[in-house]
Symmetry: C2
Subunit: 339 residues, 2 copies
DNA sequence: GTGAAAGCGCTAACAG
DNA sequence: CTGTTAGCGCTTTCAC
């Protein structure tokens, strides 16, 4: 049994203590710290030395109360169990943390499900954050709608059709188009798309990119080889069987999860990649990297996405202008699976 | 370009507003809300109705300032890039969030590396949290040492030799021992251990469990088949080759990462699992679940670990007694890879 | 250039 | 049972 007591450690030094010690007023100390307002160079110097020497740390909670700020940003993570497996959100988070720390903000997290945003509401109601970053966008996006309505600063990692929303994303459509085009140009005629939940904006964008590639290369789209909303392994397996029956040169997967399942099924059926059928993924991850043969995929610096989002949000919070939409780079990594 | 302004929304209603409206004092309102102190049933009723009707939400920051509390707990995540791939920390986090939300706390996160805990220090210095949960334990654990020294409440998800530290973990040693014993009893004579960084407490415990199984079953430990600190793929590959040369019936892997590499190498060498060599992992994950054949492994509810840790920490913060060490269950999932 | 005083929204003695 | 008063630690007018 243990019982800690925070008070046991010596009370933290305050601005008042400094004022007393230095024979100055609290106001002056405050000014020396913030740099705001007129203050004598020498006085400022003295205060700063004192602070350094005594290792003074301002109480951000008090500062926040006085300024109606928290110096916290909230990050909303999806609580869906199966998404826990995706490292995407963790990488995002790392990026956001990095950005926040560099601008002296802290990161508070909360979770939502597709139809329950009560925890997010609680966070806002409790006035614990100055702004929010959303890490996923749905077609009908409850969190975004809610945040927009109450008018709190927020950014979206992902894409939305709502022009009012500040968005950070990679250009999925362009990337998928480019990758698809590459495949088409290597001579593949029958190119399948196995895509996930079309309720997720990102999967819609990928589908758009796929279609665009056919348009731009003047080829007929293989509509009988397109499968959307492949939300579970059984559907994926069925889709794989379908496209194999109908003759397919290359299978494009909208994400790494689908791709890893596809690969497994192909292996089970002893269908060689890329000899019998080529495979590529619109989203890379370590799931695929460990695979043999290596899988061609679209690569995005997810952490960069998080960093950009964090910086953007804090800019908005502090009233600086921020662009409506910003894109981070992607790259196509060609591997043996499409050669 | 956008420019949000939080102030544009009507200022939040305060305890003072309620007091004025109801012709009461702020104290009374405070009491009606907190339930502390004597207060008339009827008055309490009136206040609560008012609150409901006007959707009043107390400002936790102000409350915190008055009580020297933040109602936040900090979660320390390792920033090492390769760890981002491990869903462990995200699952932990989900559990901690769940526990925190249920006790009206919020979760603030920060990151550390093996030798840099400056971000954790910043979090503490800024007085943003009432306590901290550590999600990994090293043999020489900087965060734990730091937190102990400054005397802030914290719990460790993992195991430490320091009796003063409140620990939440599954019984790795027992689990690994059990799994190893099972393998030994299926008739395997030459049982290898391929283990990771011995700087991580968890890997030490696993090694202990492995050794214990031999002791308890009165078998000679296969020291020539034990490889520790397999921190990268090359080392793992070498180890696999070694044990194959020396003759091995079963390869035990200390975690899913090592195991997935081992499997890949075996596949490359066309060595059939379990026919030529059996394989099992001391730590399960989706990396392994998708594999064919399915891999025998130790299963832990990581989210449960997080929930327990969160609840424990908050208990400690609020001064309730909490057990020094609590274990969450594990289970051995037997699959085809050891049959 | 510096300080006094009020206030951010809430809690916590202490009275009555 | 309820109100008064004084803070929590910092910012911010407004004087001097």
């Amino acid at each position: 049994m243990k019982h800690y007591n925070k008070q046991s450690s010596p009370r933290n030094i305050t601005i008042g203590d400094i004022a007393k010690d230095l024979g100055l007023s609290k106001t002056t100390i405050s000014r020396a710290i913030s740099g705001k307002g007129r203050i004598g160079a020498e006085t400022k110097q003295r205060v700063q030395e004192y602070i350094l020497e005594h290792n003074y740390r301002p109480n951000l909670v008090a500062k926040g109360l006085a300024q109606s700020k928290t110096y916290n940003i909230g990050v909303v993570l999806p609580a869906d169990a199966n998404l826990t497996e995706i490292p995407f959100f963790q990488s995002c988070l790392m990026g956001i943390c990095e950005a926040a720390a560099s601008m002296d903000y802290d990161v508070l997290i909360t979770t939502v499900t597709d139809d329950d945003i009560s925890l997010l509401k609680r966070l806002i109601d409790n006035q614990k954050v100055d702004g929010v970053v959303l890490t996923r966008s749905l077609v009908h996006d409850l969190p975004a709608e809610y945040l927009k309505e109450i008018g709190i600063p927020f950014v979206l990692i992902g894409t939305s059709e709502d022009e009012d929303i500040v968005q950070i994303d990679s250009d999925h459509e362009a990337g998928c188009c480019e990758l698809t085009t590459f495949v088409l140009k290597t001579g593949c005629e029958r190119v399948a798309l196995l895509a996930g939940n079309q309720n997720h904006m990102v999967n819609r964008s990928r589908y758009q990119g796929y279609k665009k590639a056919f348009l731009e290369t003047d080829k007929e789209i293989n509509n009988d080889l397109v499968f959307l909303n492949l939300n579970n392994n059984i559907l994926i397996q069925k889709a794989v069987n379908y496209v194999l029956e109908r003759g397919v040169d290359c299978i494009l997967c909208s994400d790494d999860f689908i791709c890893s399942k596809v690969i497994t099924h192909l292996e089970d059926k002893k269908i060689a990649i890329p000899d019998k059928v080529k495979v590529a993924s619109y989203y890379n991850s370590n799931h695929l990297e460990n695979h043999n043969p290596p899988i061609t995929a679209l690569n995005i610096s997810i952490k960069e996405l998080g960093i950009t989002a964090g910086k953007h949000l804090i800019k908005i919070i502090t009233g600086e202008p921020a662009s409506h939409k910003s894109l981070v780079n992607y790259e196509i990594v060609l591997k043996k699976s499409t050669s």
